[in-house]
Amino acid sequence: MLILMEALAARAPGWCHGYDLMKATGLLSGTLYPLLMRMTDQGLVDAQWQAPVSAGRPARHAYRLTAAGLRLAVTGRDAGRASSGVAFPA
């Protein structure tokens, strides 16, 4: 889930498509979609249908972190850094 949140946070506030997220995170579709569904249910991810970029193509489902999801991603990233003991510049 953290990998997915990091990938979404890196693209925030932009929207990402499911297959692009798979490639970015290395998650398989069987892991990615249940995670996206759960995160959407929890209000961490927004999902919407986007109009096709070219004629004849279908609309695609796109995802991005909500404000709550973004806060959680930042908290998770900070906690990860603190636990790994790596010092970051202020």
Partner: protein, 216 residues
């Protein structure tokens, strides 16, 4: 070929997600095109199917479907298999020494319980036993298909078969108590179907509740 198989798998995945997740099913289906462009359609579709199955216990419709499959594959089909074996075993007119193992290995002893006046009933009793077993196969399918009208017909047919067997065994001076076991199995199936049908009615609408009676 790969594309067709992938689309077929995606259809199953979409259906497994249920009505309330249908938008997610559509979303996966659209992304399949991107996976096809990368030559990863089959892996993507298979992953979506696993993902859809993983989410099934999380929603009521998914739990209902899983329970239907458990009932069909875990109860109805095994009962059909036992009935076929029992019919082949000579139930209810053959007394088998050595039990099932003796019958299968050929080492047991079989004693025909019918006498000269009633032994002609043997094939007919076996036929009814096999019909009773056979009616369980469409029954299992109709449960999965949620076709409760046909489920009721199959259960009535099974009840009629057991009643016939009980009457004929009594007339042939056999012990009618032998029919208690298949009758108990049928009662168990009927109770399970009734619970499943009421659950289905609660999930998908009230028409069925009216057919099943006032207590729900």
């Amino acid at each position: 070929m790969t594309r067709t198989v992938a689309r077929l798998i995606m259809t199953v995945a979409t259906l497994s997600l249920g009505a309330h997740r249908s938008a997610w099913g559509q979303a996966m289906l659209v992304e399949l095109e991107a996976a096809e462009a990368d030559d990863r359609a089959l892996g993507f579709a298979f992953g979506c199917l696993i993902g859809a199955w993983r989410t099934m216990p999380e929603h009521a419709e998914g739990r209902f479907v899983l329970t239907s499959y458990a009932l069909s594959l875990g109860l109805i089909i095994p009962i059909a298999a036992v009935l076929v074996l029992a019919g082949a075993f000579g139930f209810p007119f053959v007394d088998a020494g050595g039990g099932m193992f003796g019958f299968l290995s050929g080492s047991g002893t079989q004693v025909l319980l019918l006498n000269a006046g009633t032994e002609a009933l043997g094939p007919a009793l076996t036929l009814v036993m096999l019909l009773l077993a056979a009616c369980h196969l469409p029954l299992a399918w109709w449960v999965l298909d949620r076709d409760w009208d046909r489920v009721v017909i199959a259960l009535c047919f099974a009840a009629a078969s057991i009643t016939t067997l009980a009457i004929v065994t009594s007339c042939a001076a056999l012990d009618p108590k032998q029919m208690l076991l298949p009758a108990s199995a049928l009662a168990l199936e009927t109770i399970a179907m009734s619970i499943l049908a009421r659950w289905h009615a609660r999930l998908f609408g009230g028409d069925l509740l009216e057919k099943l009676g006032p207590r729900h």
